[in-house]
């Protein structure tokens, strides 16, 4: 940030009165330009014991598999954002079932929210950001070709539920509580 978006004057970096962090402040109009983390919302689109994944057509991580997810827009809820991204990236309509994971990634200023969802039909089609869509059996996920650490954690947590609690009919029982976790940068991991 070099210029004030309100008046066009060059900004300064300083700690405003009554604050404790440096901000971009405009010495001309007085506007304080706060910067905040961004929310990414997505779904785990399930159909029985299978899950829909998207192979990315865009950077970063072109060609790798991901859950449908993207930056939340203004004027929508996290549920609406998750359903919209599922529609845009996979052409898939879903019913949201439960909050599945809240994953903090402080070093890139993002919070990722994933909802567990049920696919309402099988009429999906890749969106502009997707090369290919595939339904993977939960027992056969492409672990070596996942796009992002948060996608991996969300899927691992889904399977933890499966591993520990099959219903008497053999159906999958998913975790009741959402996963709440902070992901560290690669350099800081044990």
């Amino acid at each position: 940030m070099n210029f004030c978006s309100v008046c066009g004057h060059p900004v300064e970096r300083k700690i405003p009165p009554f604050d404790h962090l440096p901000r971009y402040v405009c010495p001309n109009c007085g506007t304080i330009h706060y910067e905040n983390p961004r929310l990414v919302a997505g779904t785990l689109p399930l159909l029985g014991n299978q899950i829909l994944l998207c192979r990315r057509a865009i950077a970063p991580r072109i060609g790798y598999w991901t859950l449908p997810a993207g930056f939340m827009e203004c004027n929508e809820s996290t549920l609406e954002a998750a359903m919209r991204e599922t529609w845009e990236e996979a052409g898939a309509r879903v019913r949201i079932d439960a909050l599945h994971a809240l994953l903090d990634i402080p070093h890139i200023h993002q919070v990722h929210l994933f909802y567990r969802a049920t696919l309402l039909d099988q009429d999906w089609a890749p969106g502009a950001e997707t090369l290919e869509i595939r339904l993977f059996p939960l027992s056969c996920l492409p672990w070596d070709e996942l796009a992002f650490p948060t996608v991996r954690r969300a899927l691992e947590y889904l399977l933890r539920g499966e591993a520990t609690s099959l219903t008497p009919q053999g159906a999958v029982r998913y975790p009741t509580l959402p996963l709440v976790e902070t992901l560290l940068p690669r350099s800081a991991r044990p």
Copy 2:
């Protein structure tokens, strides 16, 4: 937004290629200025059957009672943000116990996250944004003087757990699942 924060040129409002929403775009340097919802993080600081509330010293809603909460900063997790706000507004140190509520407020472009927490000592003191701090018995909350709808919902949900499930010893048992809800503008409420 009137000017590009990167190069200082006046911005235009238009739908970028491959996008579907109007954005502020710089015709000079090409930067697209996305706007996203902001995250507010806070706690429900509990001590047995009592909860700590803060009476606000600043606008909006001066003089009304609130949970310690505020805008999340970059480079921190939602848990860290919730604990920091509890420290800044109430001088209180807490242990985070569980995600309590995820409340969407699309019309003001905010998502509020509340964690249930346990007060670690009783050395609290009002911060600069707080007039007064009080421990309220859960049976005697200031319902008519609460600052914000999300604070009300978070407290109502806390008590729902209490009402339905006292332990044999009479201790409070809080809800297991987080509340996930979208709050509508006053004009749209039934």
